[in-house]
Point group: D2
């Protein structure tokens, strides 16, 4: 039997009380976790195996789990509209990146995509991420530290235009900008031939402008535009159905491959 992994001081844990009550908390000796369902002394968790069931002060039960990388999103301060899991998964898949990839990101925002990219390219790959607004930059820095993935990210304050001087031969590029059509030449310069490039935009007008600009540039092919809709289901014996509300729209994903200009 494998030795069980136990909770240590300083670890982040996921406290799961029920579907609506899940929390990421750092285990510290003199801290107490408080919720409307009861209180928990965090020092009591030290040495417990992950997956354990504990009781809150009220007798309500909770599970103590090891967080997945995306559970940390709960702790992220949101300064911008974020890219949602349904889109993050597909963006990474399409891009074809994996451990060791060196990638460009522009428009870091809250850092959900940065985190996801870092998680996939680690430990030897790298995310070169540009953010032009200082407040977003600092917030993203804080967020990435929580997830523990900052060491795989080169977070840079400034316009992605700077990448033209600073980077070359990257494996993929990801742009979440209001005017991505202004940075197509930048992407062309910093990614390898054959590299995948992905744009995330919320409006249909941006979709059209981005796709047309890619065609006009000439340095990209295999252009595709996607949108994902996510439905969640509630399962009850003999009464299973989709949830009554859903996110109706997040954004569109524009994909292209970089080629060699004549």
């Amino acid at each position: 039997m494998l030795e069980e992994e136990v909770i240590g001081e300083g670890d982040y844990v996921l406290i799961y009380i029920d579907e609506r009550r899940t929390y990421i908390v750092r285990v510290e000796r003199d801290r107490r976790f408080e919720s409307d369902k009861g209180v928990l002394e965090l020092s009591d968790l030290i040495g417990l195996p992950y997956g354990s069931r504990v009781e809150l002060s009220t007798g309500v039960k909770a599970f103590i789990l090891k967080p997945l990388f995306h559970d940390f999103f709960m702790k992220y301060k949101r300064r911008t509209q974020v890219i949602y899991p349904k889109d993050l998964g597909f963006i990474v898949f399409l891009s074809g990146i994996s451990s060791g990839s060196r990638v460009l990101e522009a428009g870091v925002g809250t850092g959900f995509l940065t985190t996801t990219l870092a998680h996939i390219v680690k430990p030897n790959g790298r995310v070169y991420a540009y953010e032009i607004r200082r407040d977003f930059y600092e917030n993203a820095l804080r967020n990435l530290k929580i997830s523990g993935l900052i060491k795989y990210v080169d977070l840079r304050l400034g316009s992605v235009k700077r990448a033209e001087e600073e980077l070359e031969g990257l494996d993929a590029a990801f742009l979440d900008l209001a005017d991505p059509w202004n940075y197509i030449e930048t992407v062309y310069k910093v990614v390898k031939p054959s590299a995948s490039t992905i744009f995330f935009v919320p409006t249909v007008n941006q979709v059209e402008k981005t796709a047309l600009a890619l065609k006009e540039h000439g340095g990209f092919t295999d252009i595709h535009v996607y949108e994902l809709l996510l439905r969640e289901y509630q399962v009850k014996e003999n009464a299973t159905r989709p949830r009554p509300f859903m996110i109706g729209h997040t954004g569109y994903i524009v994909f292209a491959r970089r080629i060699l200009l004549e």
Copy 2:
């Protein structure tokens, strides 16, 4: 300037003629690529940089690209219903796996999920993949060799029940089986506490049975059921719209986290 990566003998390349004509082809000296748009001597590609534009015998142009891992799906022989990209991306995201993860897969089928998992966990992780039907097993083996990812996969002919004896402490489990509720105890035994487990099923009845069996077992929490719908858009200046046809259904994704039974 970085040296450009050039096409070598034995490489697989992606020949992109137009949206409906994309091909994965192995570059061999005495082979010729033939399509309804024209012919190409593959030996002419050797030494060209990736991303190059070439002309077919007819004068029609094509781009020669380095394939992404999922481009190889085009070369896979399909023996079963496959899991689609929209679902693969989200499944990997939810699972939280990354480079180095050791994961269980049951129901390999054509191998799209196996390939995706191997691509993410490489180079030091491993996919332990069970397939009960010999014909599927052999076909998947052939497919995985084409993608070059077989070395990260431990493909096993037989029931996933065997995993109870053969494996432990895995980081995640992925089941694409007709009756996943019969293998919940197996998953419980072979994955770590806190591990994510994911089930892919095509019918609503399987969704209900799987989710209820997970609840009843007691060793899982945070159960969620998802479905993704993918829309593609066709962009034309001043005439942008979703494509007229779409895939209406592939399957449902059931997610759960493994906890410790009392």
Copy 3:
């Protein structure tokens, strides 16, 4: 030029202030309409043509419109889950009913479907509507009076089973019941051969049971199951996109045609 239709005392009007502020109000001499955007003396509306723009006490503008039949839903007290417009339109279309049709409804609930059916079959058709719960029955009666369509409805307190004795030769049947499979024989008896029958159910389990019961009964054919998803778009120049939230699920529509049992 046609004479313009003017607002009379006792008329219901639709006061449109902005997208989120639309109200159905009855014009009475000594009543005042109050909203967070200002106040309006309703007697001031008498004699104005429909479509007029008026000013609230605050100077905020509002349009006074003649309500469409479904605008009255705003005034309906909801005692149950309602059937939504997206489903109501399709249900009526599928059923093929029109002015003069005589139809069965079971499970009146709040009365949205009853109202829609009455609106379509008027002036010479009739809706025979059964509701088993007295509180729903009385609420629906109140609601239908507001819409002015009660005169085309025969609202009956009791089980739809009673229809077997009370009705025959109807053109269509509409069931919004928790257990419609228990009333298939009733429907068979009261509708004409070839009549369309429509079931509205919220869960996938009810879909399966209903469709299988229809097949097993033998008196129905051409069974189809539908679900509609409605997206709304927000239009802004150069920034058009779907709304961020949407209704994720209301219910499923099961359609069948009545045939002759051997």
Copy 4:
């Protein structure tokens, strides 16, 4: 017991063999219905009650049903992209029209919407329908005769601009045109204040232009844009699921209410 309605010579009947084999056929004495499942002498149907089961020459069974108004769409020759049932039902619902309504239609095309409108406004209402192309006009005329609804339609060859001289005080307007923004003033002139106006357009660019033109005109309010997605389900005991393919896009519905310009 009601007397059963029987099939007469000259009637159109719906022959239902199975889900993929449904046909609208006119019963004539010396005609024979032929399908890949067998042959039927149509004279044998005369005098049978609707809903009867008959046997084709091969022993395969078929049901003989009275068609619903939309079953005739099967017999319509399609000269253009049509408006689909999912959209037709919602368009009619939103418009609020019913028996007796007098309505404008522009861009008749194949005539699906014309047929649906005629079916709803009959017997005393009227559809004033403009079609600019002679070939579409003649085809629509032929189609509407088959459905038996031509007597409620005033089908006019020419631009809807002519309606400015020819019509006034209509209850609603429906435009299925490539450039509806050029006809907003026409609609304003011919419909009543408070009337609903509905535009059906396939591209997002047309949505934006139409909605912005309505705002700019000033004579319309309560502008909404909708899109419907229809899923069909296949029911099998213990294996119920959405159908694998679906229509991904037909068009967008723009709704507005006509007000009085200052």
